[in-house]
């Protein structure tokens, strides 16, 4: 944990932004983002009114179950939503003072892979199988940083060493299939860092990897964040990974945030029934054997057929009449801790 980036007062976005614009510390601010898909099932509001921000050198976790809109929100930031069927209907994505939804496609190409880098879940499908590793990394170096052949080769080898690939000079000539899944993901990290991005979006970067390799990789990313000041958005469903590697947590459900707080606060003092349920439903390594898990009843919602009111109400043990008709918005419960729920905060069971 980096003490210098702990959050302080004024976490309500409006207040916060007003304060922070003067210090110019926010790298990314997403405001009221709406990304919809038009499918045969009708309009799917994959992301609906999402707002969050990330500061320089900060690691922010975006947590939720599958199909809650985590990945779509990340792809929206890079404007990589396939159209049709998807389209960003509204909102603002302010990256270093510039609204990415207003820049031209040409400018966007200079931002992608350069100032904002992304690591995806499946390294195997993200690397080009017919090009050498050297070629794939040096491509972006030549394109974005204007290095010549010799310089970019040197830089490629330096990057591969940085992510812990031994014998980098020789292995840079290899093809992706010469590398294991964990090694491929390191190559993805090397590639993502090749242009010193200000923001790194990691979408389930370790989900297909073994735990020991997951630990290696997340340590590398965290080390780079603290040394280079890269802001990191870590998207994952793994609550353990979030606890260990992020400063602040955004919990997402059905296309929007339901709770946001500093990591210690959200684990020690969760205030949304979904967050509470999620934390109680994960088996923990340090809990007693056969300690019974709590269950969140029902299934994650179908985004094409969302219930009215609060999207979580059909699965919520606290739901009352108001939840079925009115949609809650994020409200501060304590300093820097916000949740979207109508239920009396003091009556929640832990």
């Amino acid at each position: 944990m980096n003490a210098g980036i702990k959050l302080d007062a004024g976490m309500i976005p409006e207040l916060f932004v007003r304060k922070m614009t003067t210090t110019d510390e926010i790298v990314l601010e997403v405001k009221n983002l709406q990304t919809y898909f038009y499918t045969s099932e009708g309009e799917v509001k994959a992301v609906d009114g999402l707002s969050y921000f990330i500061r320089k050198g900060e690691s922010v976790g975006l947590v939720g179950e599958s199909a809650c809109g985590k990945s779509v929100s990340a792809l929206s930031v890079l404007r990589l939503i396939p159209y049709p069927p998807g389209i960003i209907v509204g909102g603002e994505i302010i990256f270093q003072g510039q609204d990415l939804l207003k820049v031209s496609e040409e400018e966007m190409r200079h931002i992608r892979g350069n100032r904002i880098a992304m690591i995806f879940q499946e390294p195997t499908t993200s690397l080009n199988p017919v090009l050498t590793i050297k070629r794939q990394i040096s491509e972006s170096l030549e394109l974005h940083r204007g290095l010549d052949k010799e310089q970019s080769l040197q830089e490629t080898i330096r990057l591969l060493k940085l992510v812990g690939i031994s014998d980098a000079e020789r292995r840079a000539d290899g093809y992706p299939f010469h590398f294991s899944g964990g090694m491929q993901q390191r190559i993805m990290v090397a590639m993502a860092l090749s242009c010193d991005p200000q923001l790194l979006i990691a979408d389930e970067p370790t989900t297909s990897l073994d735990v020991t390799v997951q630990a290696q990789l997340l340590e590398i990313i965290d080390d780079l964040r603290s040394r280079l000041g890269t802001a990191v958005l870590l998207i994952t469903h793994n609550l353990g990974v979030v606890a260990r590697y992020v400063d602040r947590v955004n919990v997402m459900y059905a296309g929007n945030l339901v709770e946001t707080a500093a990591t210690d606060e959200i684990y020690g003092n969760p205030k949304h029934p979904y967050t509470i349920g999620l934390l109680a439903s994960v088996p923990r390594l340090d809990s007693e054997r056969k300690k019974s898990l709590r269950i969140i009843k029902g299934l994650p919602p179908n985004l094409a057929r969302l219930p009215g009111g609060c999207a979580f109400h059909p699965r919520c043990e606290y739901a009352f009449d108001r939840c079925r008709v009115e949609t809650p918005v994020l409200e501060e419960v304590s300093l820097g801790h916000m949740r979207a729920c109508f239920y009396d905060v003091d009556k929640l069971k832990k």
């Binding site: 599958s66 090694m183 630990a215 353990g240 979030v242 684990y267 020690g268 340090d286």
Partner: protein, 326 residues
């Protein structure tokens, strides 16, 4: 060589898969998927089997069910040596031992209804017909908390968690006493995982089942298992009670594996020692000599490079294979 208390006993099990090359498909090497392991599973117990991908967990499970040719070593089930059974005898024996698969999307035939999938073992083993068959399928659906009217639906009409319930119902259909659960919750969402774990626990109590629970997620394994065996590159490196494994791990690999699993509580997690293992798991075609963990072990000494450590008893039911543990 069998103990009435042990439902399953595995003795010096080896499973090598040949690697072939050239036009004549000459054998050039072996993938040593399982390389000499022995353990037992007591009646009514859940034995967890953990390890990273490629360590031979799944192969071990399938060897117990005799799903390969060329298995070396002995597997006893209820006192019967399975490797000596004829094919027809084995087929009848299989009724007692079933498998739950990882991927609920790939393991169900998309052209069969849920009812047909669940009822297939009943037909294959000739356990019931007509109304009795239909009653049994309905009962199985209820047992896994689905509704009997869902029997006419096809797999694509179910969610991931519901499909896994169908897979469990199918495994229960022939009324087995032993089930190999091969990563039954890894493909599911967090909130659904807990539902399936609780279901498996309830079924074990109600039907007096014995499980071999294979998973890479140590938190899940610890929660459901009585004892846990840790595998590395085809061998068992440590086997003990699941509380003891967490409180007092002895093998350096177990220690590293446990430390790599973050605990979903930042305050607790911060107090834990972190050991980051270097490198990847070596290839099971050419495993390192001696203790096959030695190239990644921070405490390796000379003997580790030449001599393979044997599992030794550390008191109670705690066994460990490491030269450094005395």
């Amino acid at each position: 060589m069998s103990n009435g208390e042990h439902l399953v006993e595995v003795e010096n099990l080896h499973m090598y898969f040949p690697v072939t090359a050239g036009v004549l498909q000459k054998k050039v090497a072996d993938v040593k998927a399982v390389d000499g392991i022995s353990f037992y599973i007591k009646r009514g117990e859940t034995l967890g089997l953990v390890g990273e991908s490629g360590c031979g967990k799944t192969t071990t499970g399938r060897c117990i069910l005799q799903l390969y040719d060329g298995i070396q070593g002995n597997v006893y089930f209820d006192g019967v040596n399975l490797s000596q059974l004829k094919q027809e005898q084995m087929r009848r024996m299989r009724r007692n031992m079933q498998l739950i698969f990882q991927d609920p999307f790939a393991s169900l035939d998309p052209r069969m209804t849920a009812g047909d999938i669940i009822g297939e073992p009943i037909k294959v083993h000739n356990l019931a017909k007509g109304q009795e068959y239909r009653d049994q399928v309905a009962e199985l659906l209820r047992m896994v908390e689905l509704e009997p009217f869902m029997a006419v639906r096809y797999p694509h009409e179910f969610s991931g968690g519901q499909r896994q319930r169908i897979g469990i119902a199918r495994a229960l259909a022939a009324r087995p006493s032993f089930i190999v659960c091969d990563e039954p919750v890894s493909a599911l969402d967090v909130s659904i995982q807990a539902q399936i774990i609780i279901l498996l626990q309830r079924l074990r109590e109600e039907l007096s089942l014995t499980y071999l629970f294979i998973a890479h997620d140590l938190s899940v394994v610890r929660n459901i298992s009585d004892r846990v065996a840790v595998m590395y590159l085809g061998r068992i490196v440590e086997i003990t009670d699941s509380d003891e494994l967490y409180a007092n791990p002895l093998h350096p690999y177990t220690v590293a594996l446990l430390s790599a699993v973050p605990i979903p509580d930042p305050v607790v997690d911060r107090t834990r020692e972190r050991i980051i293992l270097a490198g990847d798991v070596p290839s099971p075609i050419m495993p390192p000599p001696g203790c096959n963990f030695h190239p990644r072990c921070q405490q390796a000494i000379d003997i580790c490079k030449v001599e393979t450590p044997q599992l030794i008893n550390m008191g109670g039911e705690h066994w460990v294979a490491c030269h450094l543990v005395k």
